[in-house]
């Protein structure tokens, strides 16, 4: 048995291997693009899951953090002529900084009011992206962002870019797992269930809420800079309310408070429209129906459903001997 503190490392290594092998099973190079976008979305979902799944604080404006970072690196690496790593650093910092500023007054709000405030913030950022044409290029987008090159290596091929995204994603997953399996993770889950009980355990709830909000914005920021240097083009329409909602759906559909679930939800929702292409315009109906069906038949998300199936298999195998220590959160 591995030492308890290295268990997450093993899981992340397993995950990294799966990501590494995934392209070899693809029938066509084209699907690499979907994997890259899926990985980028999974990165945002991971961060949002820390905020929504673990700490129980909703954000309907996360697309804004994603977009802010993307635009920051776009402007920095083209108009300001800064090196790409500097631009990426600026992008992530900008997202985190804005989250810190907006988080302080906003996170005092609860429930639907918090949802509204984050939603409003997202819309304001979206409008600013649309209207500051001199900086952002306005609604028709920002052209000419350089493709990523780091330490003299240029990620020109999609496959190389995919491996970069996969590496970042695996690291981020390990980061999340380790964070969750520590007193910080317990504090976050405590805030989710009972703020007063968390306080009496000495948890600084305002501080932790702000911390996890900034952290999840930074995850979105990392995703944003990766997105900008992959697509080499950004437009405000990718960062609107619609995408914010989709991110929340990814987390919930995947399974709240599950690191694997959030990522599964992200990959699933990114790939779904592709799988539905054959249905042409009817795809929107199928997409909506799948969404409804998922919450109806998998109330605990994909992670919960998978856990259920696993448990059933285990029970069959053990011949109905009650399993020991099934408890604990998933992931």
């Amino acid at each position: 048995m591995r030492p308890w503190y290295a268990r997450n490392l093993a899981k992340a290594a397993f995950f990294a291997t799966a990501l590494f092998l995934a392209p070899f099973f693809l029938p066509n190079e084209y699907y690499i693009n979907i994997l890259i976008l899926g990985g980028i979305n999974a990165l945002i979902a991971l961060g949002l899951n820390l905020l929504l799944g673990y700490a129980g604080q909703i954000s309907l404006g996360h697309a804004a953090f994603f977009g802010l970072a993307a635009y920051a690196t776009a402007v920095a690496t083209t108009r300001l002529g800064l090196p790409i790593p500097v631009g990426m650093g600026l992008g992530v910092s900008l997202s985190a900084l804005v989250a810190w500023l907006i988080g302080m007054p906003t996170l005092r709000l609860r429930g639907h009011y918090l949802a509204m405030a984050t939603l409003g913030f997202g819309i304001i950022v979206h409008i600013v992206m649309n209207e500051t044409v001199e900086v952002t290029g306005g609604p028709s987008g920002f052209v000419g962002i350089p493709r990523l090159a780091l330490l003299g290596f240029s990620f020109d091929s999609d496959r190389s870019y995919y491996y970069l995204v996969a590496a970042v994603l695996a690291l981020a997953a390990l980061f999340s797992l380790n964070l969750i399996d520590s007193r910080v993770g317990r504090a976050l889950r405590a805030i989710h269930t009972s703020e007063s009980a968390a306080q009496t355990a000495g948890v600084d709830i305002a501080g932790y809420k702000l911390f996890v909000f900034v952290l999840s914005a930074a995850f979105a920021g990392v995703a944003g800079v990766l997105y900008a240097h992959f697509l080499c083009f950004v437009a405000p329409s990718s960062f609107g309310f619609h995408f914010s909602v989709q991110l929340v759906v990814m987390v919930v559909l995947g399974g709240m408070a599950s690191v694997w679930g959030a990522m599964a939800g992200a990959f699933f929702l990114t790939a779904l429209p592709e799988a539905l292409r054959g249905f042409e315009e009817v795809d929107i109906l199928i997409y909506g129906a799948i969404l409804v069906a998922c919450v109806m038949y998998m109330p605990m998300g994909m992670a919960g459903a998978a856990a259920g199936v696993w448990r059933r298999i285990g029970r069959l195998r053990r011949g109905r001997v009650p399993g020991q220590g099934e408890g604990g959160h998933v992931g």
């Binding site: 929504l52 129980g56 909703i58 007054p105 906003t106 005092r108 709000l109 609860r110 429930g111 639907h112 009011y113 949802a115 509204m116 405030a117 939603l119 409003g120 913030f121 819309i123 304001i124 409008i127 600013v128 649309n130 209207e131 309310f241 619609h242 909602v245 929340v248 759906v249 919930v252 559909l253 709240m256 315009e281 009817v282 929107i284 109906l285 997409y287 909506g288 129906a289 799948i290 969404l291 409804v292 998922c294 919450v295 109806m296 109330p299």
Partner: protein, 292 residues
């Protein structure tokens, strides 16, 4: 100067009436079931689109077309509750919200396939010549919209305070368990609240179609503004939602007039955010509102 301000006010009130009516629908469902129904905007869309199509397809007169559209939308609302909300009653609030998002996508998709992607217009209920009022030009349809909104508000007020159904719905709002123990069928009230708010939304859609026109995808934006209206007014307070809607409409129109038309939506949301920072439960909300 004054004439311009009066014009902004009139425009703001007209647009605000839509937001208010949508917000009202949100409130009714939230009060009885605790759900924020993201498909509320689609009810408004259905009200407008079906009025248009019953009029042109079935050749009905305007009034009957609207009546039929409103009735069918109420049925859609009831069906939505029966088929998607009822089966997952005990689910977490966020799951229920996602279910309503799914339904809104379904309704929007169905509307698109049925009626196409074009924008449609409905003739005004009566009169087209603008009425001058304090230097502002008022469309007769704006007066219709405001009058019907007011009438609907009054009727709902009466319904909640005088009828047994209305009182039962309020009881569910206060305490679902207690209401259940009192012999009130919470499930029926939930069904009823969806039908009623679909009805309200559809009325809104029908009276505004002549002014704002309608297409299969107007629901999302309206849903957003309606939600903002409820939050501004204080979630759970129907009067607050109506006032919130009017205020957002006015803020947008004054924002466009005096600040910048490019940032008018941002202006309304900035004011909303600042207000929430000062009053975390909206204008007329109960303080210490519980978390989801």
């Amino acid at each position: 100067m004054f004439a311009a301000a009066a014009q902004y006010l009139v425009s703001g009130l007209t647009v605000g009436a839509t937001y208010g009516l949508t917000g009202l629908g949100f409130t009714m469902i939230f009060n009885t079931t605790g759900i924020i129904n993201f498909a509320q905007g689609e009810f408004v869309m259905l009200g407008g689109m079906m009025s248009v199509f019953f009029r042109t397809w079935l050749g009905l007169d305007l009034f009957s077309a609207i009546l039929l559209a409103v009735a069918v939308t109420a049925l859609v609302g009831a069906a939505m509750e029966r088929l998607t909300i009822r089966p997952i009653q005990g689910s977490s609030p966020i799951n229920l919200v996602i279910a309503t998002i799914g339904v809104s996508i379904l309704i929007r998709g169905a509307a698109m396939l049925l009626w196409g992607k074009d924008t449609f217009s409905l003739p005004p209920f009566g009169g087209t010549a603008p009425i001058p009022l304090f230097g502002a030009a008022v469309q007769p349809q704006s007066l219709w919209a405001l009058a019907i909104t007011l009438a609907l508000l009054t009727a709902l007020k009466l319904f909640f305070s005088a009828s047994i159904h209305g009182k039962a719905m309020l009881a569910c709002a206060c305490n679902r368990k207690a209401a259940h123990l009192m012999g009130i069928s919470v499930a029926r009230m939930s069904l009823f609240s969806f039908a009623l708010s679909a009805f309200t939304g559809a009325v809104g859609g029908a009276i505004l179609a002549p002014i704002t026109m309608t297409s299969y995808d107007v629901g999302m934006m309206l849903g957003l503004k309606g939600f903002a209206a409820c939050i501004l007014g204080g979630l759970g307070n129907p009067f607050g939602a109506a006032v919130g809607g009017l205020l957002i409409g006015i803020m947008e129109s004054f924002g466009a007039g005096y600040v910048s038309s490019a940032y008018k939506d941002a202006f309304a949301f900035v004011v909303l955010l600042l207000l929430l920072f000062v009053r975390p439960s909206g204008l007329f909300g109960k303080s210490g509102a519980e978390r989801v």
